[in-house]
Amino acid sequence: MIKEKVPNRQTLNAWSNKIDKAQSLGLRTSLTAQVMVKCLSLFSLIIGFYYFSHIAHDWVVNQTPATASDVTGLAVSLGMSWLLQGAFNALSSSARMQVLNKLEQHLQHVFIERQYALIRQHSVYYWQTVWLQHLQAFADWALEYRVQQLIAVVVPLFALAVIFYVNPVIGIGLLLTLPVVPLFMIIVGKGAAALHRKHFIALERLGSLFTDRLAALPMLANYQAHQKQTALLKDASENLNARTMKVVSVAFLSNSVLDFFATLAVALTAVFIGFSLLGELSIGPEITLQQGLWILLTVPLLLSEMKKLGQVYHQKAQAEAAKAELAPLFSCFTQNLACSAVNPVKADTTHHYSSEHEVLLAAKNLKVFDINAPQPRLPSGKDKSAVDDPPALLHTESLAVLKGDKILISGRSGSGKTLLLEALGGQRPSTHTFSEPVIWITQHPVITPGTVRENLCLNDTYTDDALMKALETVELDAWLSLLPCGLDTVMTDYPLLSGGEAQRLSLARALLRKDDIWLLDEPTAHLPDSQHARLAQLIERLGRDKTLIWASHKALPANWFNRFWTVSRSTNEQDAISNSMSKSEAGLKSKIGAVQDGHLQGCSSVTETSFKMNANQKERSLDEK
């Protein structure tokens, strides 16, 4: 296992404690508060039972009505119990909302830190699920399940103590049999937990069989495969259901054990008390109706809270699933590093225009890490060389960028050009990053669903003149004049822009802003060659007074650039793996799989050549992709 990943062996509890401390979720305080209130409520209820049974005793044995003190006692204790229960409800819902909001803030924080580098790794649906469901699953488990867990332990002890106080014989009897319950439950429960998980997986499989075919409806229509697939689904479901039922038959035993003991405890206690009252049995001290009734009312409390725990058991399974997704995202927090402090690019947009510094970056021993690794401490602490850094995905001895440089990054697809750019742009943890804000031009230009004006301005405001001028510079003025409402035309689903035009729009966006460093990640990748040439020329022209770092595998004139960086992987074997994987997986999973024991084998490296390469060498890279 790679060190930087959160080890799977870390239990849910341990992880949750870490998160709690790191993000100050206040889980512990909420937990204790809720447990205390609920226990007090149940304790009042037990006192209420005392008064109730006393009055019943008065009625049946003494044939007298209830005394006033008893009635007030009953009223007060029941009232207290009721009010405390209400307080518990209020506490639990407010705690839940609080924790969810805090978690969401942290998630948003992670998004802002890692931005596109993180988002592009998974589908939108995945992120929505993480956001909407996994956070909730974790919060539910952390608050509702754990509260119930604690209550299920404390309350029976209370109840047992009271029963002991009333009649030690019954107390001993219950004390002897009760430990069997958790023991039995653990034995059956462990088996049941494993089976529960299998059941969960089985339901997921049933679900995914169905969802796959749903998503493939047009394909099934094309192949006229619908009926066969329906038959297949039917078979598979029946099969799955039969197996699942075998599995859950055992899992239900753990529930039944509880039910068994709870029911039997009440029944046998009732019989014992009855017989004692009748004089048939005389074990232990004399028992009265009041005591008997009190015990009868209290015994259910021994196991009722545990039964409630069984009802929310599914929350644990869901929280485990949620942890698997959330742990890597939040790992920078649990490693106790303040991410926000370290990433200077995201600081308030104070421009570091120090006139004497033409050097934007002078890096020695630059390393780039996995997206979920913690941001390493900046090399300002020079003697930290012995610190165990996570294994690097990209490594180079030295790299320098001066202001106004035009740098071309080349390399086979999947070799890590994007990683390098992400590191320099501050979206990926690495040892060095630019201290100024950068502008990204990515492969797929983003058009937001708003007006043209909103697309260009985003959150800033620019005058219409500035917007028109920017559009003119990127040669989109003709396009703009054809639009029905000019700058206020809304971009719809079937966009008014072709691929090349959309890239020009993103260039216009970049022009409007003052930041001088442009990171271009294969902006012409999806364009045919003629378009590619035109757009490349435009970029070169616009970027004359900016610092450009351009990653491209298509041919570009070498005389535009003054530095050439080549990113390559160190073994050929890894190349083959990376090339056959889809874009999103390439570079990441293969790299992580390739790193062995912290050694830099399989890691990409950057070589810099500052002399111009001849044209032949550049053209060779055309047919990769």
């Binding site: 044995v61 909103e454 997986e585």
Partner: protein, 529 residues
């Protein structure tokens, strides 16, 4: 979804509940009467009855769980099969639709018996019978029991209405959040330009891009739903406790002969325990509300039928006039294709290559004229023309079932050979399970698997969308060889913005970009070299 009601589950659950209440009643009466121990009191029978009831309760508990679960699984499967078979030859046109949501809805619908029908009907049944028995035997303090029953009914109905309301709001908020977050996440590449994001303002009324969306409103609705159930159960508990205090104080009820008999404590015991056995109803109401929402969602699922045409053979040529996908603002295509060979359709991304292929195959509705061998053919999905998507779907199943989804009996040797030719040896043996629960395939592997699927079905016309993306040079070569071989007897239209040299392209169709000027100018004939 009409299916046989789950009688057995209901019965067993009822038995479970009744046994529980009866144990409570008889135990308390038994203790009370034992305390005064009247002469000639046969104590053995109640003791035996209590123990028998205990065993009955345990057994019925397990049985009802088992039967209920079995029933649930069967219903989920049946429900899904029904939905699936209703979707034959149609496609889902709902934009906000996700297959996972549909799976969730079918599960909610299937679980209605154990989620809310059984609990609610049980409690109602028990409560009614208790009242009847109490009235019949003229137990003291019966009026309190009746009043509590009325209160319970009232609270249940009230909570039912508010629960439905909240569930409706929750669905709406969910939809809004999904839309906002999708927009937001899709713009992740330009977040860094958005200064507002870095300071995370939460202003209302701004476009979602300029401030982060929040799932807060969705969570709030769900918390409200839970709160309402808790509050209802809390009020009921208060009412029950109040009734107990009133009864025990003896203030309200008249003193009768029965007031001090052991039987007198039965009703108070029931009242005291009422929050436990009757309180479960309120949480079932929540499930009822969710059920209503799921049923509505399923009913409103927008689907559109796919018209399937008969097998169409292509002998001479395929002619398109002014053809493209409907309503997508794409330039029109007029061209003639031969009956065999490879035609490469190239052009930049977004110019409509996929849409064109889809419209030719009949997957999306087209505009324009399509003629096969000179004869006009109608719009619709043609049975033996195959469209291979850009992002093909892999069905959860074995490789062989993926290659032959319709069960036409394609020989396994053919499958193995074709897979080897495409460089997919890693997917052998054919029984290997692929898809969500099995081996995940990379993008390139999926494309080749879908291509193999199409070729094995002996499609007359093959329309392939971007087969070379994500493949390295050697693999592209292999794919080209397979395509070349197939093109000897069939027409293959390949849409790709990259054309490997190994491909025997007989002609190329170059689509211009769907730019504003060529759309506005109207129909454009596209060059065909």
């Amino acid at each position: 979804m009409k299916s046989k009601p789950a009688y057995l589950t209901l019965l067993l659950a009822l038995l479970h509940g009744v046994a529980g209440i009866t144990i409570l009643v008889i135990s308390s009466w038994f203790i009370a009467i034992s305390a005064i121990a009247p002469i000639g009191f046969n104590y053995v029978i109640p003791a035996v009855v209590i123990r028998a009831l205990a065993l009955l309760r345990i057994a019925s508990g397990y049985a009802s769980m088992w039967v209920g679960h079995n029933d649930l699984l069967t219903r989920i499967a049946e429900g899904r099969l029904l939905v699936f078979s209703q979707l034959e030859n149609s496609k889902i046109t709902d934009k906000a639709f996700t297959t996972e949501a549909l799976a969730q809805h079918t599960e909610t619908l299937a679980s209605r018996w154990i989620a809310w029908i059984a609990p609610l009907s049980n409690i109602t049944f028990i409560f009614t019978n208790l009242c009847i028995v109490a009235v019949w035997f003229d137990l003291p303090s019966t009026s309190f029991l009746l009043t509590l029953f009325v209160i319970w009914l009232f609270i249940v109905v009230l909570q039912g209405f508010s629960g439905l309301n909240v569930a409706k709001k929750a669905t709406k908020e969910n939809k809004v959040f999904r839309q906002e977050s999708a927009d937001f996440l899709n713009c992740s590449a330009i977040w860094h330009l958005n200064k507002g994001m870095n300071h995370m303002p939460k202003e209302k009324g701004r476009h979602a891009i300029n401030s982060m969306p929040s799932a807060d409103r969705v969570w709030r609705q769900q918390t409200t739903q839970k709160d309402k159930a808790l509050r209802a159960s809390w009020w009921f508990q208060g009412a029950a406790f109040f009734a107990v205090v009133l009864v025990m104080s003896g203030a309200v009820s008249p003193i009768s002969d029965f007031s001090y008999m052991p039987i007198a404590i039965v009703v108070p015991m029931i009242l005291m325990a009422a929050p436990d056995w009757a309180g479960a109803a309120f949480h079932s109401i929540t499930k009822f509300a969710q059920h209503k929402q799921s049923a509505k969602a399923l009913k409103n699922l927008k689907t559109s039928p796919i018209k399937v045409l008969e097998r169409t053979e292509l002998h001479h040529s395929l002619t398109l006039s002014g053809y493209t996908a409907k309503n997508r603002r794409l330039p029109l295509v007029s061209a003639t294709f031969p009956a065999t060979g490879i035609v490469c359709i190239s052009g930049p991304s977004g110019c409509g290559k996929s849409s064109l292929l889809q419209s030719i195959a009949g997957v999306v509705p087209p505009t324009g004229l399509k003629e096969v061998d000179g004869m006009r053919i109608a719009d619709g999905l043609i049975k033996n023309w195959r469209y291979v998507e850009q992002e093909p779907i892999v069905l959860s199943g074995s490789v062989s079932s993926n290659l032959d989804p319709a069960g036409m009996g394609i020989p396994l040797d053919d499958m193995t050979n074709l897979l080897a030719q495409l460089g997919l040896e890693a997917l052998l043996p054919l029984s290997m399970w692929v898809g969500k629960a099995g081996r995940t395939l990379s993008g390139g592997e999926r494309k080749r698997l879908a291509l193999a699927r199409a070729i094995l079905s002996h499609a007359k016309v093959l329309l392939v969308d971007e087969p070379f993306e994500g493949l390295d040079v050697t693999t592209q070569h292999k794919v080209c060889e397979v395509l070349n071989r197939y093109a000897a007897n069939h027409l293959i239209l390949v849409a790709s913005h990259v054309t490997p040299s190994a491909l025997n392209v007989s002609s190329t169709l170059l689509l211009e970009e769907a730019r504003m000027d060529n759309l506005c100018a109207g129909q454009h004939a596209i060059r065909l070299p």
